[in-house]
Amino acid sequence: MQTNGLKVNELSVFYGEKEAVKKVSLSFAPQTVTALIGPSGCGKSTFLRSLNRMNDTIGGVRTTGEIWIDGVNINDPSIDVVELRQQIGMVWQRPNPFHKSIYENIAFGPRYHGIKKKKQLDEIVEDSLRKAALWEETKDRLHNSALALSGGQQQRLCIARSIAVKPKIILMDEPASALDPVSTSKIEELIAELKKEYCIVIVTHNMQQAARVSDRTAFFYMGKLIEADSTEVMFTNPTQKETDDYISGRFG
């Protein structure tokens, strides 16, 4: 389930007449974490949501440009989005487990994709929960409601849920912004662990977090990609003035 990464070419997203993302070109390497940073409303979340065509589900959104995954332009109208989304996991700002049991939350996706045997499903559930560092806490209550978990546990469950369908890429939209510091650090550890297998794109407004978890950082401002480079370079020696201003806290 490895990927050669993701290559975005001149991607623009329009809400009606408004251009929310303006001709962004950006590559994401496999087994790396790329952080998208920028002030709110800069288009980073919209950009992220266009990578798995989630913006299609909102009426009145138009996306132009190319998104290449392993030689396929997934922004082509003829692409089967349902199959595409199976390859791209997504985690949201607020934990959003299904109103089902912990077990069902994870087994739901794989079962839909054709895995019917109980034993196989059990394995996937355990494996996913282990990867999300949630197995020890939940193995005795797999059939309790997922809504009874704490916020941080719910978020890790959501991560487990998305890796259960074996994606190549995981998109995270401010995954820790609704959590307490302890839960946040657990999520960050988890991201570091997951990057061994997946290509991860994370949107964050927290620059320390971007510095801690990411290998590469891309700075968005007013719908444009200002610059993207290795995280170290971005935080110590950015080439653009806006980046410098933002990172040093002069606006945003």
Binding site: G59, L84, Q86, M90, R94, F98, Y112, V165
Partner: protein, 295 residues
């Protein structure tokens, strides 16, 4: 008059109106129940009505009302839920959707007597079903559908967006997302609304006068073959419901105890509708507790 006095008077008036409305309901229910309950007995609830003698009951009417309600809901719920899902999930915002919404709104404000006339013309005469439970159920479906659509649409739109997106992001089709993730979350609201709608259907009479008819054959409650003309289960037989019965004895009742029968039947009708109301309330609260409980 200074502002303080005006304020005081207005407050008193508003309080008085609020109290008046509460008293109105108490008086109304009190009147119906006090007048009617003394007449309710097992015999009254189960025996057949008499046309010119005293001592008739409302057994067949009560059965007809319940049977008709079940038939109506069997037809209404699948169509109403489907249309509501379409409106909330598949209809793209725009001119067409707005016109469909207008259609639903117009249909919901049609007078029920007009719906009844339409049912008479189309179901009774054109489809040649005759005055029957089925015609009545179809007319009530037309009468009830807009409400069902609105209930479903609102309940589905109330499902958090993140739930829908989480399912889509796992690579599930929209339909699977709707049926397996969104619908279960919307279900409590839909059920509560449906129970209330059922109460409305149970009390409706105007749409039934010319569709289900104003008379019942002598029912044979030992004959459970749905094809037999005297079987209570035959959906193609004419059926006078409780609400229609109340209207009929009030306007043309010949039995000497018509007033008492009307009172008793009204009490039964109101009690049933109250049960639906409290049932919906209780069920809504129960589900709310169940879903918000920490465990």
């Amino acid at each position: 008059m200074n502002a303080k006095t005006a304020d005081r008077i207005a407050t008193v008036v508003i309080f008085a109106v609020a109290a008046f409305i509460v008293l109105l309901l108490i008086g109304l229910l009190g009147f119906i129940l006090v007048r009617g309950i003394s007449h309710i007995s097992w015999d009254f609830l189960t025996s057949a009505p008499e046309t010119i003698k005293a001592g008739g009951g409302i057994g067949p009417q009560l059965f007809n009302s319940l049977f008709l309600l079940v038939l109506t809901m069997l037809i209404t719920v699948p169509i109403g839920v489907g249309a509501g899902i379409f409106m909330s999930q598949y209809a793209k915002p725009g001119r067409l959707t707005n016109s469909i919404r207008l259609v639903v709104e117009v249909l919901s404000s049609f007078p029920s007597i007009v719906v009844g006339l339409f049912g008479m013309l189309v179901f009774v005469q054109k489809f040649d079903i005759g005055f029957s439970l089925l015609s009545g159920a179809l007319a009530l479906t037309v009468f009830n559908l807009p409400l069902m659509v609105r209930i479903t649409e609102q309940a589905m739109s109330g499902v958090p967006r993140e739930q829908k997106e989480a399912s889509l992001a796992l690579g599930l089709s929209r339909w699977k997302t709707i049926t397996s993730v969104m619908f279960p979350i919307a279900l409590p609201t839909i059920i509560t609304g449906t129970i209330l709608a059922a109460g409305r259907v149970f009390g409706e009479a105007a749409a039934l006068l010319f569709t289900a008819g104003m008379s019942s054959p002598r029912l044979d409650f030992t004959d459970w073959n749905p094809l037999s003309p005297f079987s209570p289960l035959n959906p193609l037989r004419p059926a006078e419901t409780l609400a229609v019965h109340i209207w009929k004895i009030n306007s043309e009742g010949l039995a000497p105890d018509a007033a008492e029968i009307a009172a008793g039947a009204s009490a039964v009708l109101v009690i049933t509708v109250l049960l639906f109301n409290f049932g919906a309330r209780w069920f809504g609260r129960y589900l709310h507790r169940k879903f918000t409980a920490t465990r």
